[in-house]
């Protein structure tokens, strides 16, 4: 390389020492706010060894919390999945007035604070709420009981699947489905054979994010739960109770379950992205044909 080439290369990127300093600063920043707390979860959970760790997880209240968390996710995720598919189909495959407004409204729950997400259900179903007196007469409880927890969870996880699918199906266009129909496929056949294969990864991604939030939601669920041990405590609420009772080992043991769920979610997400990046895109294939 001649001298002038060296000089130009130098002007195109930062000097190596600067690169090192910037990289170390960035990693320090992430370390301070992300990696250290993540490591602390497991270190605190196992501070007294595996005995107390598994004891905390085997506690009947912890098991009840795990059960309720699984039930909540098992109801809310499929409901939001069906909604996400219906909404994405209507929005991306047809033109109609008010479409942009509809898309904005689907995103609303993301911009509502978790506490308010819980509060609105207390206002409707609570004793002082619209339906409170009627529900009380028929001795049916929604708020401070399991149905309220599920409703609040559905609300906060509402947009996840739809928001993941809409841009994907928009990019897919409509020609392939139209061709399938003209060739005699039924509507459902078209969906399962033509649409679904193209959106599978986005669907998986949306569902696991929805599930992670459904199992981990704290603020909204905390407002509607009533905090009855063994009955209306989800895993995050159980963590809070244990922590406030200064039972740190047990609190972090239960928290470590949620942390592992988060890590698994990120692993699946990275894998699907990696797969998507490796598969040649449609545009790339079209470019090859040309």
């Amino acid at each position: 390389m001649t001298n002038s080439q060296y000089k130009r290369r130098e002007n195109l990127t930062e000097p190596v020492p600067v690169q090192w300093i910037l990289a170390i600063l960035a990693i320090l920043f992430l370390g301070l706010f992300l990696f250290l707390p993540l490591a602390a979860v497991f270190s605190q959970a196992l501070a007294k060894g595996f005995g107390p760790y598994f004891e905390a997880l085997g506690n009947p209240d912890a098991l009840a919390a795990i059960r309720l968390t699984l039930i909540t996710a098992a109801v809310s995720v499929p409901l939001n999945l069906v909604f996400g598919l219906a909404a994405a189909w209507a929005i991306t495959k047809f033109d109609f007035r008010g479409k942009n407004l509809l898309v904005t409204m689907i995103d609303l729950p993301f911009s509502v604070s978790p506490v308010i997400s819980g509060l609105i259900f207390v206002l409707i179903f609570g004793l002082q709420g619209w339906m409170g007196p009627w529900l009380n007469e028929h001795s049916f409880k929604i708020v401070f009981a399991v149905p309220g927890i599920i409703l609040a969870t559905i609300f906060v996880t509402f947009p996840f699947v739809a928001r993941e699918l809409i841009p994907l199906m928009e990019a897919q266009g409509r020609e392939e489905e139209e061709a399938a129909l003209v060739l005699g496929a039924s509507g459902l056949q078209t969906f399962f054979r033509v649409t679904l294969p193209g959106i599978r990864e986005g669907l998986v991604y949306g569902v696991i994010l929805c599930n992670a939030r459904a199992m981990g939601e704290f603020g909204a669920v905390s407002v509607v739960s009533g905090h009855i041990r063994g009955l209306t405590n989800t895993l995050p609420l159980h963590v809070e109770i244990l922590y406030n009772e200064y039972d740190f080992t047990a609190a972090f043991a239960v928290a470590s379950l949620l942390a592992m769920l988060a890590l698994a979610t990120l692993a699946v997400k990275s894998l699907t992205q990696w797969k998507r990046a490796r598969r040649p895109s449609i545009e790339f294939e079209e470019a090859l044909v040309r």
Binding site: E10, N11, L12, T13, E14, Q19, A23, A26, F29, L30, L32, F33, L34, L36, P37, A40, V41, Q44, A86, A87, K93, D95, L102, L108, S111, V112, S113, P114, V115, I116, L119, I120, F121, L123, I124, Q128, F158, E177, E178, L181, V182, G187, M215, G216, F218, G219, P236, V239, E240, Y243, F248, F252, A255, L258, A259, A262, L263, L266, A267, K269
Partner: protein
């Protein structure tokens, strides 16, 4: 339906899918949210003002919005740095680190809260290092900023990464050929391209931090007037069965978050226009 010609709808299922979408959206989102507005209209103007402008509530706005602003600023600076480093440099474990940036999205806020409180308390890993310097993080307003920085961390990084990836080498080459040094290129050429996305990420992180509850309450100390966030105040009022007070404050916060949503939408449109 352009040019007055009615286009035939070939694909099936428009009616049922749109119908179900609107029905489910109304049931889960629109009707419950309208309950908040309708409940507040039952208040007299004076009662509403007393609820949303009492000194304790105003102090909580200051704590919430102030901390959220500082946290979003920290994220704007260090998030930009992190995005740059993750796109442009090669170093060991880069993919792992990149994947972990999303952790605050996936980790339940209660877990984030109790671990931050533990790490930054007097005898925690970080707290014990900062204690001799006279810096107290946990159970002070500083703790709120730490928690809000953590939960807002992915926003700036994730909005900026694709933008940095899309910057063509030619722009930088042209700038270098015209005699700019690296710093000039950064300030005059790269930063203007990145700015709309940095602002969008900032606004997203700010909006998220303002509504945050779970991760903050464990580390905040929650002293009225000093380190009490508005979300906590809503919960406290609810626990005292002061439903109308809680609802009035919630409406103020909801209006603030809708205003931010609008601002974010405008920012995103601006950055998309900039990208073209």
């Amino acid at each position: 339906m352009t040019n007055g010609i009615k286009k035939e709808r070939v694909l099936p299922g428009f009616g049922p899918t749109l119908g179900y979408t609107v029905f489910y959206l109304s049931l889960i989102v629109l009707i419950p949210l309208s309950a908040l507005v309708i409940k507040t209209t039952g208040l007299t103007w004076r009662a509403f003002l007393a609820a949303v402008a009492s000194p304790q509530v105003v102090a909580s706005y200051r704590v919430t919005f102030g901390s959220a602003f500082i946290a979003a600023m920290i994220n704007a600076v260090f998030g930009t740095l992190t995005a740059w480093v993750l796109v442009r440099y090669e170093f060991p474990c880069k993919r792992l680190i990149d994947a972990l940036v999303d952790l605050p999205f996936a980790l339940p806020t209660a877990v984030t809260g109790i671990t931050l409180a533990t790490v930054y308390s007097e005898n925690g890993w970080m707290g014990s290092l900062l204690e001799p310097l006279g810096i107290k993080v946990a159970y002070t307003p500083l703790g709120i900023i730490v928690a809000m920085t953590t939960i807002g961390l992915p926003f700036v990084v994730r909005t900026l990464q694709p933008v940095i990836e899309a910057i063509e080498a030619e722009t930088e080459e042209a700038s270098a050929c015209l005699g700019a040094n690296r710093l000039q290129t950064f300030y005059r050429v790269l930063l203007p391209v990145m700015m709309p996305s940095i602002l969008t990420g900032f606004a997203l992180a700010f909006a998220r931090a303002v509504g945050e509850y779970g991760s903050v309450i464990f580390i905040a100390g929650n002293m009225p007037m000093v380190s009490e966030i508005t979300s906590l105040l809503i919960v406290t009022k609810l626990e005292q069965f002061d439903y109308s007070g809680a609802t009035a404050i919630a409406l103020v916060m909801l209006t603030a978050s809708f205003a931010m949503l609008l601002a974010i939408n405008m920012l995103q449109r601006w950055s998309r226009k900039y990208a073209q």
